[in-house]
Structures are given as C-alpha cells and as structure tokens.
C-alpha cells in the first residue's frame, strides 16, 4: 500500500489491469490485509468485484497461486501488487493467450540482471526459468506478469518454499515449460520494479510528470503565498503554510501539514505527516504520521546506501524517515540516511546510515 503519485501501487496495478479488460479481481492478502481491504472494499469504486483470499503464512508465489484455485474460473492475469506494470505489456500477454491458449509470462530485459530470476527462451517458447539471476546476455529475467489457466494449479502443487527468494514460482513455471505449455512475451519498455526507496522516488516523479494536475488543483488549505509546481500531487486535507515551496516530483498524502517556508523537492510524504516551519527536504520519503521539526535539513542528492549488506552507489536518495518517526528541530540527514519506525531524534542531531526502529538519538 505504499503510495506512488499519491495512489497505492496496488491501485495503479488494478486500474491498469481494468484498462486491459479485466472484469473481476482476486487479491491474495497476508498479515497486513486490513489496509488493503479498507482501501479497496468490494471494488465498487472501480466498478469491478474484488474478492480476497487470505494467505496465512508467507509461503511464496506458488503457494499464493494455489490459494486462488477455487476463486477463479478460466484464464486469468497474475500480477504482483507491488510492481507497476504497463498496459502495453498486459495487452500483449492477453493477445498471446488468445493466439495460443497456453500460459504466458513476461520476460524483461533488465538493467539489473543480477537481481532477478533468469529466463531462457527459444523463439516464443520458454525453455527454462531459473530462481537465480543471470550473468549472460541477453539478460532476460522474469517480469512478474502472467496469464494462466487452471493448468498452473497443477504445476504449483507441492512446490515447497525455496531459499532463493523466488518462493517456488520458478519451479512451477519450469514445470509448465517442461510440458511445452509456456510462452514468453519479451518486453523492453521501462520496467518499474520498486524494490528500493530510490526506485519509489523516481517512479513517483515519472508518474507525477505524466499526470500533472496543477491546473485543476484546489488550493483549499494552501496559503496564497505558497508556490506549488504543476507536477506535484496534493491529497485531501493537506495544509501548506505561507511561502512554502513544493517543487517537482513531490506527492503529499492526506492530512499532511507543511509549515511556513518549508521547501520540498522530489519527496513522497505519506498520510498524516507533519513538516515544521523552514524544513528543507530533498529526495526524501516521509512515512505515515512521521514528523519533522522546524529547519530540519535533508540535503538530498547522490548517496551510497547499504541495504541488506549490499552497497548501492550513486543512488539519488536524500533520506527515508519511516512511519511515526519524529525528528526534532534542526536535525540534519546526511544523504542516504534511513531512519526506522518510531525513532525519536532530538533537536540538532546529525543522522547518517541506518537508525534502527524505536531508537532515540540524543546529542553527545
């Protein structure tokens, strides 16, 4: 339910699927299902029925698929809820299904081939699907979008969880491939995988740029002296103080308060955030109900960020302030800082690296 362009990613996935002709949806939901259910309800707002299937334990993609067996009938699209997908790709997957009546998957040429399961194809047919990355050109990887029918349930049966992070999906796909019943659609467009925070920022900026809403924006709650760029999204109940400036690529969630003279550029501010007077936030993600005191500075720009022991160099990330964290006045975030949930950083502290959830940061 992370928002990009002020819409949960899942909602963008759903609307794209509806545009591609989907007429009903089943969501496989896990432990945080309440947020999803409260947002989507029965699907009235999107004019399609939405059903929920609960996956009690996170046993992976193949297991998730096997959960929907009783809820679907005939061919169905399978998509990831946290991965944006292009309409063009869905159209091609559906087109291929119509031609062959066999399961279809997306194979994507990746710029980060070392992070995704490799796919080997022969013409249109899939030869092998590996749970591990590829090092060989043409760097085709599993694009995480499929059209299946009931045959996939047979293939997904008794797949046990694998330790490779692919959660058994590759095994199920390989079983289909072994029966010559799986083809691939090659896709070269921008592939928006949102694994990392900086992916969110750049995708957010792209989406906002494509759907500028500067013209019809209501200025209710926005002070007349505030300056707001066209490619900025403001949700309901946002208030923006005098002389505040919201620059390109910024989306602001519900009930967010932005103080006087604050400046935000390329930021995602989630519901209930509070930004103090004079704060300067660049390339920054602020979680739900996080608060940032007066004159907090997130200078932004390029950084070196360590995520799960892997070093990512030259990524654009000013900082992440997770849900419920509170930064006092004049706190400074060194580029690439990740502040955990409910962290409390006292006034004037300078933060860098990763701050674990729940910690309190005091001045020495």
């Amino acid at each position: 339910m992370i928002p990009v362009g002020n819409k949960p990613i899942l909602e963008s996935v759903l609307t794209t699927a509806i545009d591609a002709g989907v007429d009903s949806a089943v969501f496989v939901v896990g432990h945080a299902r309440e947020r999803i259910q409260s947002h989507f309800g029965d699907g009235d707002e999107w004019d399609i029925p939405i059903e929920y299937v609960v996956q009690k334990h996170r046993l992976g993609g193949a297991h998730a698929l096997s959960q929907v067996e009783s809820a679907v009938d005939g061919p169905f699209l399978t998509l990831h809820g946290d991965q944006l997908v292009e309409r063009r790709l869905l159209d091609r997957l559906i087109e291929r299904w119509t031609e062959t009546n066999d399961p279809v998957m997306a194979a994507v040429q990746s710029t980060r081939p070392t992070e995704y399961g490799a796919v080997e194809i022969d013409g249109d047919a899939v030869r092998s699907v590996s749970p591990t990355p590829t090092a060989d050109p043409p760097f085709l990887v599993n694009g995480g979008a499929y059209v299946f029918d009931e045959r996939v349930f047979e293939a997904a049966r008794n797949v046990t969880e694998t330790a490779d992070g692919d959660f058994g999906m590759a095994t199920a796909l390989q079983r289909l491939a072994n029966k010559q019943a799986l083809s691939a659609v090659r896709h070269q467009g921008p592939w928006q995988d949102l694994t990392y925070p900086w992916d969110l920022l750049s995708t957010n900026a792209t989406l906002l740029h494509d759907h500028e809403d500067g013209d019809e924006r209501s200025r209710e709650g926005v002070h007349e002296t505030a300056v707001i760029a066209d490619d900025v999204a403001l949700d309901e109940g946002v208030s923006v103080g005098p002389n505040a400036t919201l620059l390109s690529g910024t989306s602001v969630g519900r009930n967010v308060r932005i103080g006087a003279n604050a400046t935000l550029s390329n930021c995602i501010v989630m519901d209930g955030g509070r930004i103090g007077n004079g704060a300067v936030l660049n390339d920054c993600i602020l979680g739900e109900s996080a608060s940032v005191g007066p004159n907090v500075t997130v200078e932004g720009g390029s950084a070196r960020v360590v995520v799960d022991d892997a070093i990512h160099r030259d990524v654009t990330l000013g900082g992440v302030v997770a849900d419920g964290a509170r930064l006092g006045g004049n706190v400074t975030l060194t580029p690439g800082t990740v502040v955990g949930q409910d962290v409390s950083a006292h006034s004037g502290t300078v933060l860098e690296g990763q701050i674990e959830s729940g910690e309190t940061v005091r001045r020495a």
């Binding site: 259910q37 709650g221 002070h223 109940g237 009930n255 209930g272 419920g324």
Partner: protein
C-alpha cells in the same frame, strides 16, 4: 430492531421481499415473515433466520409485505412473528413500534379470535371491523390509526386489494420509487438495490402505494413529500473481505475521521468552519447551558464532549440518558440548547427527549450519521458526523466521529462566545488533524492486540479505569466488551474503584487502565497499584512517561486531549478479539438491535 419491507410492481414480490429482509438482518431480529396477496392472501412466518422461510418458488404474486421481528410484546414464537392476520384471513399487517392502548382495544374485540400475544394483532382485527363498513383499504387504515395510541410504522395488504397501505407515527418509514415497482421500508438499506429515489413519511402520513405510484395523505388530504436521492452505494454496506462489519468499521476509522474534518478544519487559518450549523451566533453567545441527551455509546461520546465544551467554551454542559430526560427546574428555555446524539437519528428515547425539550421552547440540535433521519428533520438544526453507513450493532467508528464533530462544535461555541484560548484551540485543531494517522498506528498493531485479547479472554470479569476523559472511554470500552463477548465488564472513573468495585477485583479479573493526557494519569497510577496489590493483571494503554510495571502495555502517541480517543481504538480491537475467540455473533449480539426504535 424490527424491519419492514413491502413491494408492489411488475416483478414477482417473493425474491424482492426475501432480499429486502436479508438487508434488514443487521438490525437484529428473532423471527421473520412474509405476506403475499393477489385475490387471496398467503402468509409465511416463523422464528429464526430469513433464509429459513419456506416459501414455494412458484409464488407469482406481485404484491406483498415482509417483516423481521425483535420481540417486545410476547416471546419469539412462530405465532408472534409478523405479518398478523384477521379472523377472516383477508388482511395482513406488519408493524414496528408499540401500541400503548392495546389492552383497551383488545377488550372491544371480544368476539375476535386472537392467535398471538402481540400488540400488532389488534390492528388486523380492527381493520377487519372497518372493512365490513368500507371496501377502501386506505379509509379503513385511516379509521384504525385514529384509534391507536403509541408508535407505529404500519404496512398493510388485503386480499383483492391491489396496493399497500403504509402509515407512520413515531417510527420511521420510507417509500421507494422504483422503475419496475414501488416499495415501503423501515429504512433505506433494503431499497438501495432497486432505487435511490425515496420519500420519508412524516408522523400522521398514510401512503397508498400502487403499481403506478405513491400517494401520501395527511389529515385526509393528499400531500407532497419531497423526493430524496440516496447517495451511498448499496455495497458500501458490505463486508469487503472482513469477517465482521464491526472489524471493517473499526478499520474504517481513519477514513471516517478524515471525512468528518474535511473542509471543517483548515490548517492555515485559525478556527473551525462548521458552516452547516445554522444556529445563530447571537443564540450561541447567549446560552447558559448545553444539555446533551443520548443513549449507549452516543451517551459516552457526550460525556467526552461535555468536558471539552466546558473546558473550551466556558459554558455549563450536562449529559442525560435520553430515557431519563426531564427538563428540570431552574432552566430558562430561551437560554438552553439541547443536543441529541444518535448514529441512526431514529433512537426513540433520544427523539422523545428532544421532542420534550422542543415543546417547552428549547432549541434542539441533532448530531447524527443519517441524513434525512427523523432526528435531522425534527431538530432546529443538524450536524452530520459523515462516518458512512455503520452496520455492526456495536457502534465503533461513529463513536470517534461523534466526539470529533462535537470537539469542533466546542471550538465553534468557544469562538462565538469569545472564550477561545487561542493556543489551546490551535493545539486541539492540530490534534484533530493528527487523529486519523494516530488511529491508523493503533490499527497496524491489530495482531498484537489480538494476541493479548486471546491471552486474557478467559478472565472472570474485566474492569476498565480512567479519569476525566478516560472515564467515558472506560465506560465505552466496557460496553463494547460486554455487548459483543457477553462477558462481565464494567468501567469506572478510576477514583471510584476503592469505593466499592475493588471488592470484585481478583487475580482472575484483568484491569484495563487508560494512562494518557487528559486522564490525570499520575492519579490513576495509584489505582493501578491498588489493583496490582490484589493480584489483578493490568493492561495499560499509556502515553510516554506512564509505561513500565504493567503486565501488558500499549503505546499512545502524543495527541493531547484526543489521546483517550486513540486509546479507545485499542479497547475496540480488544473487545472484538475477545468476542471472536469465543465465537460470538459479533455483528448481531443476542437481545440487541442496531437502532432502538422503541422507548
């Protein structure tokens, strides 16, 4: 409470009536029935679920009435279920409300054979008498209601009469204008699948509903009643993936709260904009007292609001149980405002209190969730809490929404009277804006709360304590738990514990303590020590600085005078999970009804 549905049109009536009754199930009921007419009359009724009604699929009648009954006069039995018929089996009647002079009327009907213990059956027999005089069913109903004292919403059909006659006094009734037929119903929920266009009947109205249309009569003359269009969608009242409406509604609180403050609080300007309030500034500035009248959960919301009003607006505020309300002496009607609070706007006790106030010239304000409800129409002014439909019998989201709308009302009254402490007002507004996020933070801990609820579910009794604003929240926490789990639960102002209830505290009685801003937590901590000394496990819902030394602790973020309201969300989820672990009928607890339309 009892529900009524009626249909006449081009389609078979049976499926529409059954579907309508199923839509009314949320109100709570113990028996159900349907009457279908053409040249004859067939009645199907019994104790139990609507789905258990044994009606042949082959029935093709296109006119009929249906009813879900929640017992008041007489036990839940097949005979007592509605519709009720006369001796000849020609007339069928469904009725909500209570006929006060039922005993008297029954003695005048000594030659009639009564088959039930209900007050409603006299209506059927009285109609039988009238129909010997006239063939016009409307005239007969009109003559009968003239003899009845008490409250009623009536639906009547008769063999050989092509139409439904409906009548209302002090019990809600709407007519629906559909494309392939017309409807009557006790509320709009069962109509939404067929039409959005409805008219609300007023007291004394008699409606003649036919295939072609609806004519409404008042005092023997036709009268126009405005047609309203219902905005919310039928599916807004479906469960959307949740096991229970109650859980869905608990999780809807952030959205409901945002809707309640949308457009009413502007972050930059000082002040609250309750522009839907039409009471004049002069009047608000002149009053000596605000009297709240309400029942159940709404009553607890009023207890909370009373303290905010007195603190911010410096005007005396009192809270009365609506069923106990009397004007009391020493009050100037011109300088008193009575505020009725009811989710449905149809609560009979609250309406009665408001009417009593109105009769002596007191101005009334209704605070409700239901646009077009009796309360909204009868009061001098209405404020809407905009929480969206609430189906679970146990009120959850509407409690929070009532309080924040009343908090905004407190700020408005304070401003009007020139009493507003600007700094305190600013802080309350900020906290109102921060509330949806803080509530979401609690909802995110659902799994933790569930684990705690299951661990303590077998307690012999549960006690909820808190002071000041924590008092109403303690009462509400106990009410939620008892109404859905059937466990013994009580809420007390913490200081009262040692004056009696402490005798009940043992190692087997968990105590839930509210230790936040606005609840004088330092003092409550002493009471927590008292119960700990008796070995009771303590679950603390506590702000920073008041945690440590409890069996279980839940955190409340910094939110000033709204912290107790955040604490309440923990209590809601606690009650839900205790009840769910015991397999209770959470959305329809035994003996209870959603909107209590009898006094």
């Amino acid at each position: 409470m009892c529900g009524i549905i009626g249909y006449i049109g081009e389609q078979p009536a049976r499926p529409r009536l059954v579907a309508g009754l199923e839509q009314l199930e949320y109100r709570g009921y113990d028996s159900a029935g349907i009457g279908l007419v053409d040249d004859g009359l067939s009645v199907f009724k019994q104790v139990g679920l609507v789905s258990g009604l044994d009606i042949p699929e082959s029935t093709t009648q296109t006119c009929g009435i249906g009813h879900t009954r929640w017992s008041t006069h007489g036990k839940p039995t097949d005979a007592n279920a509605h519709p009720h018929t006369d001796c000849s089996g020609r007339v069928a009647v469904v009725h909500n409300g209570i006929i006060g002079n039922y005993d008297e009327l029954r003695t005048t009907l000594s030659d009639h054979e009564f088959t039930s213990e209900t007050d409603t059956e006299v209506v059927a027999h009285l109609l039988e008498v009238e129909l010997e005089r006239t063939d016009d069913l409307r005239e007969a109903v009109s003559a009968v209601v003239a003899q009845i004292e008490g409250s009623y919403a009536l639906g009547v059909v008769a063999a050989g009469y092509d139409g439904i006659i409906a009548a209302r006094r002090n019990s809600p009734l709407v007519v629906g204008h559909g494309s392939d037929g017309n409807f009557i119903a006790s509320d709009v929920t069962p109509l939404l699948a067929h039409t959005r266009s409805v008219s609300y009947l007023e007291d004394g109205d008699i409606a003649q509903v036919t295939r072609e249309g609806v004519t409404i009569w008042q005092d023997g003359k036709p009268i126009d009643r405005e047609r309203h269009t219902i905005e919310w969608s039928p599916d807004a009242a479906e469960k959307g993936g949740y096991d229970h409406y109650m859980l869905k509604e608990i999780h809807e609180q952030p959205t409901a709260l945002r809707q309640a403050i949308a457009g009413r609080i502007n972050g930059i300007e000082e002040g609250v904009d309750l522009s839907d309030l039409s009471l004049s500034e002069e009047f608000l500035a002149s009053i000596d007292e605000i009297q709240f009248v309400a029942c159940g959960t709404s009553y607890h919301a009023c207890l909370y609001a009373k303290q905010l009003i007195e603190e911010f607006a410096d005007v005396r505020a009192t809270v009365e149980f609506a069923s106990e309300y009397s004007i009391g002496s020493g009050r100037d009607p011109e300088r008193t405002l009575v505020v009725g609070v009811s989710q449905s706007g149809e609560t009979a006790d609250t309406l009665r209190a408001l009417r009593m106030a109105h009769r002596v010239g007191i101005r009334t304000l209704g605070v409700t969730n239901t646009v077009g409800s009796t309360m909204a129409r009868e009061c001098d002014d209405a404020l809407y809490i905009r929480a969206g439909p609430e189906i679970g019998v146990a009120a959850t989201k509407t409690f929070a929404s009532q309080i924040i709308v009343l908090a905004m009302f407190a700020l408005t009254v304070a401003e009007t009277r020139g009493e507003l402490d600007v700094t305190a007002g600013r802080e309350l507004r900020r906290n109102l804006q921060g509330l949806p996020g803080a509530v979401q933070g609690v909802l995110n801990q659902n799994e933790d709360i569930k684990a705690v609820a299951e661990a303590y579910a077998d307690g012999e009794a549960f006690f909820f304590i808190g002071r000041r604003l924590g008092g109403p929240v303690s009462l509400e926490g106990a009410l939620k738990l008892k109404e859905i789990s059937y466990d013994h639960a009580e809420g007390f102002p913490a200081g009262e514990l040692k004056h009696g209830p402490l005798a009940l505290v043992t190692e087997e009685t968990p105590v839930l303590a509210i230790l936040t801003d606005g609840t004088r937590p330092e003092e409550t901590q002493n009471n927590v020590k008292e119960v700990q000394a008796r070995g009771a496990p303590v679950i603390a819902i506590a702000a920073d600085g008041y945690r440590g030394g409890h069996d279980v602790e839940f955190e409340v973020p910094d939110l000033g005078l709204l912290e107790p309201l955040v604490a309440n969300v923990y209590l809601q989820l606690f009650a839900y999970h205790v009840a769910n672990s015991k397999g209770r009928a959470i959305d329809k607890p035994r003996n209870l009804a959603k909107s209590v339309t009898v006094e």
